[in-house]
């Protein structure tokens, strides 16, 4: 059985691209924690939208529930109240602040399909 060189080269390229992609994905999803200052804080501003949710649940309550759920994935807590900046923008603070890995994790959880009927986009992640 003879294998054409073109096909062989294409296969080799495919294997290399696949391997590099897997390594890159593994590197991107790897948790690397760094020390965080004790009194530090992180300000989070999100933009939230809901469709088909329960009528007696306000958007602020849904965002608050989402924050409380997602903070379980990191080592910090939500400090104070979740405040509404306008109709669909909300602000919260996380104490102590988060390292980059935890920030990505928290942002992923907030923007993921974590709570039904709620879609959230992160607007700001800023250390205070």
């Amino acid at each position: 059985m003879s294998v054409r060189p073109g096909r062989l080269a294409l296969g080799a390229v495919g294997v290399v691209v696949g391997a590099v992609g897997m390594v890159a994905l593994a590197d991107a999803t790897l948790t690397r924690h760094e020390p965080v200052a004790k009194g530090s804080k992180l300000e989070i501003v999100v933009e939230a939208h809901t469709r088909g949710g329960e009528r007696n649940q306000s958007l602020r309550e849904m965002v608050e529930a989402l924050l409380l759920t997602c903070r379980l994935e990191v080592t910090s807590d939500v400090g104070g109240e979740v405040t509404a900046l306008d109709d669909d923008r909300f602000r919260a603070t996380i104490e102590p602040g988060l390292d980059r890995s935890n920030q990505r994790q928290l942002r992923g959880c907030l923007e993921d399909w974590t709570v039904d009927h709620l879609r959230v986009d992160s607007v700001r992640f800023r250390p205070l």
């Binding site: 994905l25 991107a28 942002r107 923007e111 993921d112 399909w113 974590t114």
Partner: protein, 171 residues
Amino acid sequence: MKTIAWLAGIATVVAAAAYMVVSLNRWEWNRALFFGLILLIAEVGLCTGLILRKLGRIEAVDPETLQVLRDHRGEPADRFAWMKESSTQLNVFITFLVGGGVLLSGVAWLVDRLASKTTTPVGEERLAKDLEAIAYPRGGLVVDDMTVLAQDVPGADDAQIHKLLRRASRT
């Protein structure tokens, strides 16, 4: 129409794979799971389509060619034709049968002779040993005259003398 369906399937696979990788990179596990599921479904659909297409091509063989091949199919080889030959002719099978029988009989005779020479004497020795346990005492069970007379001797009430006499009666 078929082309559109194939393109849609391929596009779904590519898009689902891309979104899955992006979601994983963003730590959005629920989205990654969803797109992974879509990818899996699209893959199964495409693979099923490929298999069905392959099967369709197999069925689409030119019937004339197939008929020509069937018409010119060779006669199946009769591998037991030698059994139909006349029994008056000696052939290899009979030779092997008879020769094998003779050889087997010889081996069986040898085994029988060897077994009779080795197992019978050993068995007899073992039986003799086992019978010793239930054998009568030497001299029989009847007490001899000497013992009977000895018991009438004065002073023969002694326990040691009785014991001695009983022992003597056994020998």
